[in-house]
């Protein structure tokens, strides 16, 4: 660039100040790309190592056991000169067949065989329930704040509360949920307690996102409708919400990512370390709400902190982290893509 003739007569000649400027700009750029590199490193490691336990070289190329089975203990032992690795059930069947195998010393690692299906199910249930609650409360609150409320002391308080609620640490929500739902209401460790705890945690995100989408709907839409004689509610229902809804939903997807990713609030409100039954295997329909579930983030915490790290446990550790990251990443990128598209579509 420097050797080229100036592009236009007003371009100033290169000076020491300009060179320094370029250096400093490069420094800032370096900081930016350093952050992205770190993020990519985390992604890359988890994907690189986790892909091994989720995909396989033989058809159907996806390790279906890992995705559809419950966690089991892994038994590693040497029998008749061969090293064998078996899940708990398989091992018992094997021992029943070969009684000699029972005498062979076998090392066992908990949760290291089988799959993570109950955890995926639990996470999905938690997300669906809590987002339903959060969207209902959050969108309604945003409608009130944006459509009905006039500035005043009360609204200032509401906004202050929302702002402060957004800053409360997730573990405090966990404590609150434990104190209120689990103990005071007597729901025990249950889906319902987890739903409400997570919903309250994500409420500020949903309210802020919804309000922004509602604000983006031009005033003219409302005024036109009101001028035609519609009531306030009719205006909101027919002329405001439909246009704001895509925005509300896409921005709320980020809330979903947050709900799915949090571990601390569900640790003592909804998550079990291990549970044999799947959530729908209940006797009465009411029990469905009052049962604890296994959840993917909590499972990752358990397998990464409570069992030793070696070649056998690594599979389940990286595999769960990979699946979890995949789910959250898909949700997050969907939100980002949808929002970019929405920005292009609605312009008024």
């Amino acid at each position: 660039m420097a050797s080229n003739p100036p592009a236009h007569p007003f371009q100033s000649p290169p000076t020491a100040a300009r060179r320094r400027e370029r250096w400093i700009f490069a420094l800032f750029g370096g900081a930016t790309y350093c952050v992205i590199l770190c993020g990519a490193l985390v992604f890359g490691t988890i994907i690189g190592k986790g892909a091994g336990s989720v995909f396989q070289t033989r058809a159907p190329f996806i390790n279906t056991t890992f995705l559809t089975a419950a966690p089991e203990s892994l038994h590693v032992f040497e029998f008749e000169g061969r090293k064998r690795e078996m899940g708990d059930q398989e091992y018992r069947a094997f021992v029943a067949q070969h009684p000699a195998a029972a005498r062979v010393k076998s090392e066992s690692y908990v949760y290291s065989a089988g799959g993570i299906f109950p955890c995926i199910v639990g996470t999905v249930l938690l997300v669906i329930g809590s987002m339903t609650i959060a969207l209902t409360l959050g969108v309604s609150a945003a409608v009130y704040l944006n459509e009905y409320a006039r500035d005043g002391t009360f609204i200032r308080f509401v906004r202050l509360a929302i702002l402060n609620l957004a800053g409360v640490p997730s573990i405090v929500f966990g404590l609150f949920g434990f104190g209120m739902f689990v103990i005071f209401f007597g729901w025990n460790v249950s889906l319902l307690a987890g739903w409400f705890t997570l919903a309250f945690m994500v409420l500020p995100v949903v309210i802020t996102a919804s309000e922004e989408s509602l604000k983006a709907v031009p005033r003219g839409f409302r005024e036109g409708s009101l001028a035609l004689g519609a009531t306030k509610w009719q205006t909101i229902r027919k002329n405001v919400l439909p246009y704001a809804l895509p925005g509300i939903l896409t921005s709320s997807i980020l809330g979903i990512a947050r709900v799915a990713g949090e571990t601390a609030p569900i640790m003592f409100t909804a998550a079990y370390v291990v549970r044999d039954k799947l959530p729908w295997e209940v006797e009465r329909a009411v029990d469905f709400l009052f049962q604890g579930v296994m959840a993917l983030p909590y499972h990752i915490y358990v397998v990464s902190s409570k069992i030793p790290q070696n070649e056998y446990t690594e599979r389940v550790q990286y595999g769960s982290a990979f699946i979890f990251l995949l789910i959250v990443a898909v949700i997050a990128s969907a939100s980002i893509l949808l929002r970019n598209q929405l920005r292009n579509r609605y312009k008024w």
């Binding site: 952050v35 409608v143 404590l175 005071f184 550790q317």
Partner: protein
Amino acid sequence: MASTESSQPKHFLAYKGKFRLFGLTIDDCIKVFFGGNAVVSIVVLTLITYFLFREGAGFFGQNRRNLDIYRRAGLEYVDYIRTQQDDHTALTRYLSDLRLRQLRYLTQERHLSLAEANAKLGPFDDFAEQYGDAIEPIRTIVSDLTEQASAIKTKCGVAEDKLTERQQLLAEGRNADAGRVVVESVDFAAELAPIRATLPAWREASAELTKRISQVLVTAPAMPDPALQARLERFKELNATYVAGFPAIQRRLETWDYTKPVPAAQALTSFIFGREWLTASFWQDWYGVIPLLVGSVMVSLLALVLAVPLGVGAAIYVNQMASPLEQRFIKPSIEFISAIPSVVLGFFGIAVLGQAMRALSQVSWLSWVPGFPYSERLNILTAGCLLALIAVPTIFTLAEDALNNVPRAFKEASFALGATRLQTVIKIIVPASLSGIISAVLLGFGRVIGETMVVLLCAGNRIAIPDFTMGLGVVTQPVHTMTGIIAQEMGEVVQGSIHYRALFVVGILLFFLSLGINYVAQAVVRKYRVSIG
């Protein structure tokens, strides 16, 4: 006429009809419904406060009783003597450190073989052994007293259990059964008498210790090196202070009075200023939040030190310097990083980063870095690096917003006056948005101090105040944090026990800390905003 009326849609009229519920029209009802939802956030905030206090408030009463028993069962008395023993142990450790340094000096500087060096250290070993033996009489007294005091404490515990049992039975209306529960009241004066009777023996032992220390110190062999000699002199000085502290201990023992009630405020101060968090111990449980608070703050500060330059730098770069193409790539990428769940980051720290950092610290040409090499895989550094990755997107997004809010006219005016781009950025844009950037940093701080999973998995979970004498190297030590301790211990404690309530009080502290940070962040924006217009 009638036909036109019927063909008109009645749909809208129905809403404007006279239907009323509690004197409200349908529209009013809808408004009230929405308004009710808006109140939810206030309600939730109130409920959080209420339930945290509901579960946590009992802590102070329980802690006071805990401290009361500590005093009345004579544990406090024994701990006074124990400090003497513990200080001596610390000094003995100083001596063994000195020996290690000598050995290193002899083998590395003088090139002696290990056997020769050890032989040369013979006199020093004798000296150290004699010094170590000097404490024996005190040690015997302490271990005897420990047993006695523990016995009294157990009796207290039994009596208390019986009392609650009786109360429960009475509450259930089984008066006859309640009558059968015998509560033995503990006669503290009688129980404590044997403990207090050891005072003369202790005085003798203490005088003996003073004498022996001064005798032994004279026989200290000369060091082979001036630097080591200086350390020995320092050791002698430390001993002088140590011995000078004996009269104070004696005074405390003599004036100790088990009937003196524990002041109510101490239940609070022993939590806020307590330097020990010790639970499920056979001797005495302490609930002091300082080690946890220091851990949380250290980890968060380290994360901020790393994240602020990166986050603010990236925001400035994207907002002011990057090409549109870069902007379209960088912004979603950083948002993407914020979507990484913290538990996955924590796992990454355990599985990859901890080991990698330790390996890096053991590279020989990096040994000049303070704290390197270290052996604990999980420590402040590991957790801080990962938390920085969590803080960067928060700081980046908010700082970028703040930069965006600076009007174009500021920039254009600066260019028109002949300033370069760098000058414009540093002297105009950044100062104009400084309040926003500071509040972004504060909110980032709030984000990391409340983060749980990363610190739980990666901070090392050792409940102790890190050793600040290492200077910057302190970041290579493991700590425990407020969020981590709640997550770790909440699942194991008995509901309603003092430990359970203590965890809730930690939660209360965390809650108000985050509210405080939030408030300051808002105040900064309100007060220092450069008026833009």
